[in-house]
Symmetry: C2
Subunit: 460 residues, 2 copies
């Protein structure tokens, strides 16, 4: 029964790259596919910020890998963590499992945000990559408003109502836009002692503009739209210190500024997954500064045609000496290409080099607005505001996996659109507020925006 004649493909990672590779190989009778992931589900990462901001539930944007791939009889899904590659024996080593032999391995383990050597900041300023990150960030955002509601000291209340987002890429822009919406609309009538629109939302970007991968006029449009939502955009500002009370930034002129805050969210930098960096080291492959593997024109590691690296874990060649950007399409196209290449080689067909087709970028900024940069649509591809928002909506629904998820997401969006509500803003995990820091300075007068009713209800 054991068919050793079939070509064994091991795919590490069930994100866009790994999943699209597995699907492409699903109908091939002469390969046997094993997909390994630490999680049992595929996560639609472009919408993860909506989980972090209470607009969607984790289950709305995730789908079990076994369920997606159940009809592929040549495919096995394995829950496990890849920790090593033995290139001589052609085995992937798992943390809690026997070795997994391969004829071809496709590494699609992605990347995470980078703290530029300050890993200690991670506990204070979580990044948004996993479902657990998203529910933790959601908890922190909601707890901050709860703490502000009952805080009597105006300085500390200000800290709780200040949110700093580090990194002006798509994640930082979308998160800060959603935060602006939460403060201005969603929570507007929820509290009695604070006015949620008084929240300060600060987006910090070290480069001279946000969305640096977009054309300059799109960056300017995004900044204007964010500012309309009350978000303060600080470009040319590098974070030099983070702790649980403040963020310190340095401008390009060298001036330093301290922003007192209790909530810092991190969406800056790129660091390839540790498995991808391990693979590069074991194979002696070159990497860029972020640890991403430099792959050849066929997305395999030079000298190791049996090892592909795709998506965010790789530096995939594009045009004009640039590499493919770290977006979902990079994973989707890279994974599909690697799978097709495996089949072409098996059948002795010629293998054309990887060609990335830029489908364009869309980022949404709060409610009813956004920016697009879609080259192949010509002038129409550079939209802002409502048109961008509509395009974004359509694209995300089309790519979202799972029919029920599509309906659920459309329902939640429709309802949020009508009511400005966000129904999934639950505080789960450790539920309680940090203890009140007593005593409040007795000389302090109650802040002007505090209603006596709420104040009195909290403490006499």
């Amino acid at each position: 029964m054991v068919e050793t004649s079939r070509h064994r493909v091991v795919i590490v990672g069930g994100g866009f790259g790994g999943l699209y590779a597995a699907r492409r190989l699903g109908s091939a009778p002469d390969v046997r596919v094993t997909l390994v992931d630490r999680r049992n589900f595929h996560l639609f990462q472009p919408l993860l910020y909506q989980v972090a901001t209470g607009a969607l539930s984790p289950g709305d944007i995730a789908q079990p890998l076994r369920s997606i791939l159940r009809r592929q009889r040549n495919t096995t899904v394995l829950l496990g963590e890849a920790v090593g590659l033995d290139a001589e024996r052609r085995e992937v080593l798992l943390s809690d499992h026997g070795p997994l032999p391969y004829d071809t391995v496709i590494v699609a383990t992605g990347a995470r945000f980078s703290y530029f050597g300050h890993e200690g900041w991670a506990s204070v300023a979580p990044g948004l990559k996993s479902v657990d990150d998203a529910t933790e960030i959601r908890r922190r955002i909601l707890i901050a408003f709860e703490a502000a509601e009952r805080e009597r000291d105006p300085a500390r209340r200000r800290e709780w109502m200040t949110f700093v987002l580090v990194g002006g890429g798509p994640t930082g822009v979308e998160l800060s836009g959603a935060l602006g919406e939460i403060a201005n609309d969603t929570l507007r009538n929820d509290f009695r002692s604070i006015r949620s629109p008084d929240a300060q939302i600060v987006l910090v970007e070290a480069l001279d503009r946000i969305l640096p991968s977009y054309p300059a006029d799109r960056s300017a449009s995004a900044q204007r739209q964010l500012e309309r939502l009350g978000v303060q955009v600080r470009t040319g500002a590098r974070v030099v210190h983070v702790d649980d009370r403040c963020v310190r930034v340095q401008t390009t002129e060298g001036a330093e500024e301290v922003i007192p805050t209790r909530t810092v969210l991190w969406a800056a930098g790129v660091l390839a997954s540790s498995f991808a960096r391990h693979v590069a080291e074991r194979l002696g492959a070159e990497t860029d500064r972020a640890g991403r593997v430099m792959v050849g024109p066929d997305l395999s590691v030079p000298g190791h045609p049996e090892v592909f690296v795709v998506g965010d874990a790789a530096v995939m060649p594009w045009r004009h000496g640039r590499s493919v950007p770290g977006v979902a399409q990079g994973g989707i196209q890279g994974g599909s290409y690697a799978a097709r290449t495996v089949l072409r080689r098996l059948h002795g067909d010629p293998v054309p080099p990887f060609r990335y087709r830029d489908k364009g970028d869309v980022a949404v900024i709060g409610r009813l607005s956004g920016v697009t940069n879609i080259g192949w649509l010509g002038p129409f591809g550079r939209q802002g505001g409502f048109t961008a928002w509509l395009l974004w909506l359509g694209i995300h629904i089309v790519y979202l996996i799972g029919f029920a998820n599509r309906i659920v997401v459309v329902t939640r969006w429709g309802w949020s659109f009508l009511t400005k509500g966000r129904s999934t803003r639950l505080i789960t995990g450790h539920p309680l507020l940090p203890p009140i820091e007593d005593p409040a300075p007795p000389a302090t007068a109650p802040p002007a925006d505090q209603e006596a009713m709420g104040q009195d209800a909290i403490s006499r």
Copy 2:
């Protein structure tokens, strides 16, 4: 601005009892309401087992308390944990907050399952009361199938594929029915080495029949329906030992049986919340064996007309010397009654005693079947099978809070109904399997139901 003339009502707990009390008081201009809960959301507990079994997301059955009560200008929601009652000073003491003064307090803190003095069993056999319990139970169920899929030793594989549910009340019945569905339908094509329908699901009940609050013929009908789903029902079996490898039960005849299993879920016994027990102790009020407070005909504590206890935290009088059962309706009607009583007293109106209106019970058993016991419908109120299932569906949709949630739940149910799928079966939190217990006994032959393909993919 501080209006000391208004009657201050503090409600502890945002479940059915607390929420319906707060809503009833919402339009009263002469009271000021503070609702305290450890969580920022109201949870629709009757559907929590569907979260634990991957059919719904937590966000689908929860709604932020602030959002539900935002229009009630006389109401403040406070995130905090009530830890004490000072009856002399009329203050509720909070764990991380100043004291909360009241003129009337409504205690609606509910109950949890009881381990009958074996609190150590709780970590091995979690109960289903909170969202975090539900995602943890979901994780354990899914991890058990994953572990079985890669386990080569048949005895250990059997342990992973055995699920023991303790307690034959509605929660135990609905959970075991859902597990039967998961094993028979949802996961049927997901695995390569195991056959999910081979899972053993054992429902253990110490009394002589399941659903003891229903008439005997309804219990028998529920048992038949469960057995049709492959659930083994053991009545008259008391659990005497639980650890991470087995459950030991004793029959009424005194015989002992060991059920080897890795997954034990607990849905037996009742223990009033610690706050309710504290209140009883401080006021010298009587309690039943479960620690629930014996309240008078107006649901207040005898001798303390300003302290109401409602819902699962109380023994609310009903008829024929029986008390109101621990169901959602008990909380809903008790909370509303306490609120109306507060207003009647304020206005000098006569206060009639609490009268529970039994609206009947419905339990669902897997897909398309269930049992009902609805007295006021006459003979039609005693249904089984599909009619019961339809009734259950309608009732739960009507009582579910939040319009978007209703649509989302109907969508997910409709989709599950058509596909037999459960789209939210995510393993979150600690993701990985327990380490493989090596070495597998070398003398053991591979089990007959093991496909060579999966086997080979896992380890050579």
